[in-house]
């Protein structure tokens, strides 16, 4: 989200005699030798939204997991209403009024909204569905969480599912609501509606914690901002006193960060990807090409045909004949003759489920797409693979620096660096990068951007992204997809482009733009 065009209610100043509902006092948590949280002191007040800003791995999740009763602090304690609490399970935390909305929803897909909200509630064994829906509907209305209580969860959008999660907490009378990167799964429009609901909840006295690393959102939403860096509260700032986003970003990562990146011009060469008149699978006459040396961004609201397009280019689904040409070869021939080097690299959105093997170590994960380069007859040269992996880990600064680390142990940013390291090792001619910086902190984002710009020297890049800023920063041309159709191919050199994208994403075509 690049702009926040909505009106927020006036911020209330914190009065002197306000009593915090939750206090973290000197909380420290260690995992082995790693100190995840060090001497954290934090106060949460009723009716206020506290944003917790920090990079991946800064310790945000650990801190909130302690609050939610999943971990126990090694030192320090948590006070609620001035009383020292010692949670030994998340149940106890829920009873104390703390509720958390996780990034991954925990809903029963086949049940209705009302059933999900009331699931696990104590009370009568049989509840009249009408009565159930009425109660949930009232609750939803009170907080402006628009969702039909009788609808089945599997039919809902991500935004609506999130509202159901919130309703679950509100129904339990949670007073402290923690949101772990809630906007990662939302469209810009849904994000605004979430913000409005959050303000409404704060108005009614709920204390809200909003975890994010999106600066604009934090600035627009929060009453207070706490910055967490390397397990330590780096400082608390008043959003009204923040001079610039760069200033905030700087405090978050501890060094000056350029949120913009210099894109040196690059000569474009032969086409490496040609999509010709591709229809079917939810697509409609998609037609474009990507040349070596350029980045073409594909933007659009999620679910407008990006998935089938990417999956057919990358060989996960079969497109109709003669619609896709990669590196000068028709799709079928390309995948039949596919080599590990100088070929197609796909950097998928689903890093842990598709791009890496979660239970395997770094060497095995590097081998996933490069194994043919390490094969000697039927054997695999594991020794050389280990040496190369050590080199890549060093070159891309993938932490922790051990090659024995398993994929699931890596943080999002490091995992993405590992995927990138592996895919660039293949010296591809075409790269399809899908949401390459989603969920990454600023320094990791910058790193990924830099690498992508660098590899233009050898490859053409199709960048599928929901982040308009990313598209504008990196791409030479931006293709806007709506309802399976590419509504416009806009050069970023044109000053008017940023303004044209929004309407196109919403499917509004003023003139014959194509």
């Amino acid at each position: 989200m690049s702009t926040c065009d909505f009106i927020r209610p006036a911020r209330k100043p914190l009065t002197e005699n306000e009593v915090p509902v939750v206090r973290l006092v000197g909380v420290t948590k260690r995992f082995g030798k790693v100190v995840a949280n060090n001497n954290i002191n934090l106060d949460l007040y009723p009716g206020r939204i506290k944003a917790l800003l920090g990079e991946n791995g800064a310790g945000k999740s650990t801190m909130m997991s302690m609050l939610a009763g999943r971990y126990k602090p090694d030192e320090g304690h948590i006070e609620i209403d001035g009383k020292v609490m010692d949670f030994s399970s998340s149940k106890e935390a829920i009873n104390a009024g703390i509720g958390m909305v996780y990034q991954h929803f925990m809903l029963v897909e086949s049940m209705t909204v009302a059933q999900n909200v009331l699931l696990g509630q104590t009370g009568g064994f049989f509840i009249n569905p009408k009565e159930m829906e009425k109660r949930v509907g009232e609750l939803a209305g009170r907080f402006g969480l628009d969702v039909a209580p009788g609808a089945r969860v599997c039919d809902l959008s991500m935004g609506e599912k999130q509202r159901v999660e919130i309703l679950k907490l509100l129904y339990r009378d949670s007073r402290i609501l923690i949101f772990d990167e809630p906007t990662a799964v939302l469209t810009p429009e849904e994000t605004i509606r979430l913000f409005e609901a959050l303000w409404k909840m704060a108005e009614q006295g709920k204390s809200i914690v909003f975890i994010s690393h999106k600066l604009e959102e934090v600035l627009a939403l929060a009453d207070d901002i706490a910055i967490l860096r390397r397990g330590v509260i780096e400082g608390e700032v008043d959003p009204d006193c923040v001079e610039s986003k760069a200033d905030l970003a700087c405090r978050m990562v501890g060094k000056e960060v350029i949120l913009e990146i210099d894109r040196a011009p690059m000569e474009s060469g032969k086409p490496v990807l040609e999509v010709r008149n591709l229809s079917g699978m939810g697509l409609n006459e998609v037609d474009f090409e990507v040349r070596q040396g350029e980045i073409v961004a594909l933007v659009g609201v999620a679910g407008n045909g990006q998935k089938p397009l990417v999956e057919s280019i990358c060989g996960l689904r079969k497109p109709p004949r003669d619609t896709i040409v990669i590196g000068g070869k028709p799709w079928r021939r390309f995948f039949a003759e596919s080599t590990w080097k100088r070929s197609l690299s796909y950097i998928p959105e689903d890093r842990l489920g598709l791009a890496t093997l979660r239970e395997c170590d770094m060497v095995d994960n590097i081998l996933l797409t490069t194994r043919k380069g390490f094969a000697i007859g039927p054997w695999l040269d594991k020794k050389r693979a280990s040496t190369e992996t050590v080199g890549l880990v060093e070159k891309f600064d993938i932490r922790p620096g051990r090659i024995q680390a398993l994929a699931w142990q890596l943080s999002g940013g490091n995992l993405q660096k590992a995927v990138l390291a592996r895919e660039l090792y293949r010296e591809p001619v075409l790269i399809v990068a899908e949401q390459p910086t989603q969920g990454l902190d600023i320094s990791a984002t910058e790193e990924v951007w830099k690498r992508l710009l660098e590899v233009r020297a050898m490859a053409g890049i199709l960048l599928v992204t929901g982040d308009l800023n990313e598209a504008l920063q990196l791409a030479d041309r931006i293709a806007v997809i709506y309802n399976g159709r590419i509504l416009g191919m806009l050069p970023t050199s044109d000053k008017a482009t940023p303004d044209k994208i929004g309407p196109l994403m919403a499917g509004i075509v003023e003139e014959a733009a194509v």
Partner: protein, 356 residues
């Protein structure tokens, strides 16, 4: 919930957890077995002593256990290779039967062939039939998306009926007084004891196959691809792996190994094909593979342990007139308590503090 204790999720993995859980589960299973013995009016102390004596107390017991461990080990290795790819082959029993049939077919067709020719022929045919039998569910899975758990299980019953048909019908020994069994194999078709003992060369085969399996998974490209595609067909496709081929391959290997187990059983132990060959090694193999967490060396130990348990229970049956199902009950209990015990790999029990 126990008062005075509470559960807490482990922050770090438990180092010796797997071993402690295994031994603990074994102990619990033995205790429950002791209660079951008492319930039948037998002395539990005597029972457990006889069980130990019959499993490990004598040379004959150890030899018996080793012999029984051979088919269990081979089947279990086969099951493990498919499980590693997350293909749930629970048809080792049927593939074992087909292997036995294949070996018998060769042994009965060419009884006068020299053993250096006949033996390889029997093993090849056993591997082929076992592998093809497992290839059916693999093809069904790939072409029609049939769940392999159900198809492999159902094929077990068909395989057993096929075996019955052969020994009751066309292969029945005319001089068996009507008993359902084939004639005894010729000497050329028998696997003999090693160094004059009753332990036959099947044990050596197990060692070789186990080492080959380990090296295959660790050092070959195909082994790596099998492991990687355990994450599912999408990951395999992403990495450019031939998922369909891998499924076929892994199932045929799996079935082939179970087939070898059948071959070793008829050629080494019984010397003929008969219905009593089917004593559930294929199912025990699943228990073993799971207990051993799919590691070849662990599979060897677990196979021996469960084989020893079988021998011990047979002894118990003779001495105390315990029903035959007792062994199966114990096997099931060990598996269930180990599986239940895995809970403690992620959670630990803590003493509740007084302040709570």
């Amino acid at each position: 919930m126990l008062t005075g204790f509470k559960l807490r999720k482990r922050d770090e993995p438990w180092k010796w957890g797997a071993l402690v859980i295994f031994l603990g589960a074994l102990l619990i299973s033995l205790l429950i077995s002791a209660f079951l013995l008492e319930g039948q009016g037998k002395s539990a102390i005597d029972g457990l002593f006889i069980l130990w004596d019959g499993s490990f107390g004598h040379v004959w017991a150890l030899e018996g256990a080793l012999l029984k461990a051979v088919p269990i080990f081979l089947c279990s290795l086969g099951v493990a290779i498919s499980f590693r790819m997350q293909i749930w082959n629970i048809g080792a029993e049927g593939q074992f039967a087909l292997g036995a049939i294949g070996a018998t077919w060769m042994a009965l067709s060419f009884p006068h062939l020299h053993w250096t020719l006949l033996m390889p022929l029997m093993f090849i045919m056993a591997f082929l039939l076992g592998g093809l039998w497992a290839g059916i569910p693999a093809a069904l899975k790939l072409k029609l998306k049939v769940n392999e758990i159900i198809s492999t299980l159902m094929l077990n019953y068909i395989a057993i009926l096929l075996l019955d048909y052969l020994v009751f019908g066309i292969w029945k020994d005319p001089s068996s007084y009507g008993f359902p069994m084939t004639p005894k194999f010729s000497e050329n078709a028998r696997i003999l004891g090693m160094f004059g003992s009753s332990v036959h060369w099947g044990v050596a085969l197990c060692v070789a196959v186990g080492a080959a399996f380990w090296a295959f998974m660790r050092y070959t490209r195909l082994g790596y691809e099998l492991k990687a595609s355990g994450q599912g067909p999408r990951v395999a496709k992403y990495a450019g792996m031939p998922y369909g081929f891998l499924v076929m391959f892994v199932m045929c290997m799996s079935g082939g190994l179970a087939g070898w187990a059948g071959c070793v059983e008829v050629a080494g132990t019984t010397g003929r094909l008969e219905p009593s060959l089917m004593v559930g090694y294929g199912y025990t193999a699943i228990v073993v593979a799971w207990l051993a967490r799919l590691e070849p060396l662990n599979i060897a130990f677990a196979s021996f342990l469960l084989a020893a348990l079988r021998v011990g229970v047979e002894n118990l049956q003779l001495e105390l007139q315990i029903p035959a199902a007792f062994g199966e009950i114990m096997e099931g209990m060990i598996l269930l308590s180990v599986l239940a015990g895995q809970f403690f790999l992620t959670y630990k029990l803590e003493r509740r503090k007084l302040s709570d």
